[in-house]
Structures are given as C-alpha cells and as structure tokens.
C-alpha cells in the first residue's frame, strides 16, 4: 500500500516546514520561561541560553509572590471561569435539547435568535452592560462577570450541542418515555451522559476566552477584591515594567495554568474540532 504522495523528499520537506513553524510558535514562550529562572545579569548577557547552576535565580518569583495578591486573583479567575462554564454548559445543553428534540412553533426562529450571538460580539453592548450593572449594583462583583460570560458563551454552546444532540438515538429516548420517565429525566439521565464528549469540547472553547479576557474585568470589575489573573498580570507588569525578573516571572506564572489545562484537554479539543460540528 504505497501511495504516490508519500515520497521521501516530500516527507522531509513537510517535516522541515512544520518544524520551522513549530520553532516560531514556541520560541517566545521558551525565551520567557527560561529567562524567568535567571539572575538579572544573565537575562541580559545571555538571553538565549537556558539557566545554568551559576545563573539560576528565583528572585523574580519571590518578588511576584510577595508583591501582588496573585492567589486572590487566581482564585477570582477560577471562580468566574468555573461558574460561567457550569452555567453555559447547563443552560446551553437544556436549550440545545429543546431545539433539537421538540418540534414547536418558532423553533427555527429561536435557533437563529440564539445563533445571532456567534457573529455579533457582546463587547459592542458594553456601554449599556455597564449601565445595567451599575443600576443593579453588580459593578465590581464576580457575579457581573459570570453573567456576561454566560451570555457570551451560550450561542456557540447551543449551536454545537444541538448538532450533537440530533445524533442521539430516538429509540432510546422513546424507550425511556415508555418506561414512564419524564422529559426532564430523559434529558438529565439519558441524553446528557451521551453527549458528554461534546460537552468537553464546548467547555474548552468556552473556557479559553473567559480565562484570557481583559476587556470585561477592566470595565466591570477592576476593584482589588475582584481582579482576575489576566487583569492582575496586566497591571502588575505595567507597574514593574523595568523589573525584568518580576515581569518574566509573572508572565511565566500566567502561562503555566493555561498550558497545563491545554495539554490535558488538547486531545479533546482537536477531536472536537475535527469531528465536524464547527465546519
């Protein structure tokens, strides 16, 4: 089974091109991380070499951990991301189930209405969102962020999940109905467990922009007690711009959690994209 497309020079060329691009993609991240472990002199003298026993220095990290309230920021980011994620998945799955399972008047229209948010970014409503949050006293609370991110994540979640829910076998659901399960039980007990893989895909897609967002934390919740890690890092780095050790350490600390999560979920993410829901 040798195919005409697998000739040797072609394969070597493909690997060379991909390796070159991989180097470009990873280079900045690697430079930041290796330099964060070096002393100030070494950062400037030999920026491209990894830390050795002489140049190894954790001063940047101790400075960051003593200066900024990074554990609080981290906790805020975690609360906001997890709470929004939970609501997006729950509400999104419920709406997707209603749209894909039942025929009712206005079904298509409702689907289009909810899909509108995929194309129109929620940021354009910021002026009125801020007024709404001021009026309801939610400014500088994590609740405001959770609400905004839930609304932001729902359109794509409903869209992707309803594609998947259409594939759940009707026989199974009807068998459940004959056994006297209510519609709610059919949803929670039968359908949700079956679409769990696609929920993971939606989770990854929803999570990354929420964790990385700078706009809404900056506008809706900039107070010390509600800063997210992205906003905290932005302000910290802005303040300590000349302190290279601290800046590099802060950047590395901000990269780490996302990177770990990504490496855990990357197979899920790629499977989700390639399974055809987003085509």
């Amino acid at each position: 089974m040798s195919r005409a497309t697998a000739s040797l020079p072609r394969t070597v060329g493909a690997h060379a091109a991909l390796l070159a691009y991989t180097a470009i993609a990873l280079f900045p991240v690697v430079v930041i991380v290796i330099n964060s472990f070096k002393s100030r002199n070494a950062i400037f003298r030999t920026p491209l070499s990894p830390p050795t026993s002489e140049t190894f220095d954790l001063i940047g990290y101790t400075m960051v951990l003593n200066q900024g309230d990074f554990f609080l920021y981290f906790q805020n980011s975690l609360i906001v991301t997890v709470a929004s994620l939970f609501l997006v998945l729950l509400f999104g799955a419920m709406a997707a189930f209603a749209l894909s399972e039942y025929r009712f008047r206005g079904n298509t229209l409702m689907g289009l209405y909810l899909a509108l948010g995929i194309m129109i970014p929620i940021r354009l409503g910021t002026v009125a969102i801020l007024q709404l949050m001021v009026a309801s006293g939610l400014v500088n609370t994590l609740t405001a962020l959770v609400l905004v991110y839930t609304a932001q994540g729902l359109p794509l979640a409903v869209f992707i999940l309803s594609e998947f829910m259409k594939q759940v076998s009707d026989d199974l659901k009807n068998a459940g109905r004959i056994d006297g399960l209510s519609e709610y039980r059919i949803f929670f007990r039968l359908v949700l467990p079956l679409v769990r893989p696609s929920m993971a895909t939606v989770a990854v897609f929803t999570m990354i922009p929420i964790w990385n967002d700078l706009w809404f934390p900056l506008i809706l919740a900039p107070s010390e007690a509600t800063k997210t890690i992205t906003l905290g890092a932005q302000l910290f780095i802005g303040q300590y711009v000349t302190n290279w050790n601290a800046v590099l350490a802060a950047l590395s600390l901000a990269i780490l959690p996302v990177l770990v999560l990504y490496l855990i979920f990357s197979r899920q993410l790629i499977r989700g994209i390639t399974s055809g829901a987003v085509k």
Partner: protein, 310 residues
C-alpha cells in the same frame, strides 16, 4: 385533518419552555437588550445630568467634527489594514500548515498540531508583553537573532516606530491565531473522502496539482467561514493593542483601531473625560460594519460556494 385535530388537543408542553427559559433569559438580558440599548444610547446626549434625545447629532459630530472624524477614519483604516494582514498572512499560512499536516502517514502530526496551537490559548496580555520584551532594543533578543543570520542592520524598534508598529502588531496577532485556520482547514481536509483522492491519483493528479485542483475547491466553504471569523475578530479586537501599546495606541495613534478608540472615548483618557454617548455612537458604527460584513458573507459569498455532500 386528523393530525390538526390531534395537535389542538395537545396540552401545552411546559417542559420546552423550562428547557429554553434560562438560556434565553440570560442571553436576552445581558446580550441582546444591552446591544440594542447601546444602539439607542447613541441617539442621546446629556447635559447637567439630564439625558435628552439628539437624533443623529452624535454621528454628525463623529463624521463632521474634524477632530473626531480624523480619529475615526484613522482607526477604521488601521483596522482594515490589520484585517488585510490577517487575510494575506494568517490564513494562507494556516492553510499551508493544514495541508502539510494532513499529508498521509505524516509522523508526529499530533505533536505539531499541539505545539502550533499553543500561542492561541495564551492571553493577549502574555502575548503582548512577551513580544514587547523580545522586540525590545534594551534586551536584545531580536537583534541577537538577526545577528546570527547576518541581518542585524535590519533591526529597528519596530513597536516604537509609527510606520512599522501596526504591521508588527498585526503579525504578532497572526502568530497568535494561526492555529485557528490551521485546525478548521485541517478538519475540512480530513473530511474529504479517500475515494475522491484515489480517483485523482488514478488520473495522475498528485502532489501540488492535487492540492490546487481537487482539495482547495472542496475546502472553499471552510475558507469562507475562516474569512468571516477573521473579519469579526479583527473588527472587535482590543486586547493586544491595549496590552502592548496602552489605551493611547501609540506611537502617535498609529496603532489605534476601533476597539481602542471606543475604549478611550467611553472611559476618557488624560484630559478628555469619558463620554458614553459618543462611545455608543462608535460602538454602533462597529456594529454596522460587522453586520455589513456578516451579511455580505451570508448573502453573497456563502450562497455561491457550493457545498459538496459526500
């Protein structure tokens, strides 16, 4: 007749409403109403805490007052250039990488995919500052690298020069987001059935010719989707410019795009105080621009792209 009759007798299915209600309520209250609220707000102004209707005056000011209109057209042009860079650099590179990745029997392809996608998951704050450090003449990573290939004379502080700053930021953004077109095109290429490829090989079409004549026409719908996603993302961009250059989008506003212009107008900066009404007017213009783009895509491009069903 019988069916109609049966339908009339059906009880109201409350569970449908229960399933839909939470999503529709949150989405409507936090996204749709504020969106239209912002559009509406652009028709108002305020003096001494009193809000009054001014019709299209804010837009007249935005386009008629030379100071406002100069900023607006500058931001719009910069934004368009930002978008052009993405279309010319990001999407071709993404398609090229996807084509390489999808070649049969390629080893380590999972590794390449994972690695090339890493910049996409990083926040703008990290990306902005990391590149700022690397391109900084103080640190010297970039000049050192150029020195290795004997091109040190080419180095200038790209982010600090008016004529280069926007293009540099565009390329940084390309670096960050090239993973998205790569993944979507990769998925589209994988979904081309083997029979089509085998038939092409039977006819002697292989290699580059196969890509141009067989695969590319088949993935055109995905390229259309990528283009419109790029468009919406670019005309909504803010974070990267803000992290790297600050709200003033320096040097001398040369990297100002609609997102940073909206932020400055809404919140104020230096001596100018924030103005929610002019901010709404700018947000409304962004809404119009994005809506126009999406409509052009939906009604002209998408309907002409043939979708192949296998």
């Amino acid at each position: 007749m019988a069916g109609e009759f049966a339908q009339q007798k059906k009880p109201i299915r409350w569970h449908i409403a229960v399933f839909l209600a939470p999503a529709v309520l949150v989405y409507t209250a936090v996204m749709i109403i504020p969106l239209f609220g912002t559009l509406q707000l652009s028709l108002f102004n305020a003096e001494n805490q009193q809000r009054f209707f001014v019709g299209l005056d804010n837009f007249r000011k935005l386009f008629g007052d030379p100071r406002w209109s100069a900023s607006f057209w500058n931001a719009l042009w910069n934004n368009t250039w930002f978008f052009i860079i993405h279309m010319l650099v990001q999407n071709p590179i993404g398609i090229g990488l996807a084509a390489l990745l999808s070649s049969p029997k390629l080893r380590f392809s999972a590794f390449y995919r994972t690695a090339i996608f890493i910049p996409t998951i990083l926040s703008f704050v990290i990306v902005g500052f990391a590149w700022k450090l690397i391109l900084s003449p103080l640190w010297g990573v970039a000049p050192n690298l150029l020195d290795l290939v004997g091109l040190k004379s080419l180095f200038t502080p790209w982010l600090g020069k008016e004529e280069y700053a926007l293009t540099t930021l565009g390329l940084i953004s390309v670096w960050q987001f090239v993973g998205i077109p790569m993944m979507l095109i990769y998925a589209a290429l994988l979904s081309i059935p083997d029979e089509v490829i085998e038939a092409a090989e039977m006819d002697g079409i292989t290699g580059m010719a196969q890509f141009w004549k067989i695969k590319l026409p088949l993935i055109l719908p995905s390229i259309g989707i990528i283009s419109i996603l790029t468009f919406v993302g670019n005309f909504n961009a803010f974070d990267l410019i803000y992290s790297a250059q600050g709200a003033l989008a320096g040097p001398n506003y040369s990297t100002d795009i609609l997102g940073t212009f909206l932020y400055r107008t809404f919140f104020g900066f230096q001596l100018q105080t924030g103005d929610p009404y002019m901010g709404s007017a700018i947000a409304s213009m962004m809404f119009l621009i994005i809506l126009t783009g999406v409509c052009i895509y939906l009604f002209t491009i998408q309907t002409r792209l043939r979708r192949y069903q296998f």
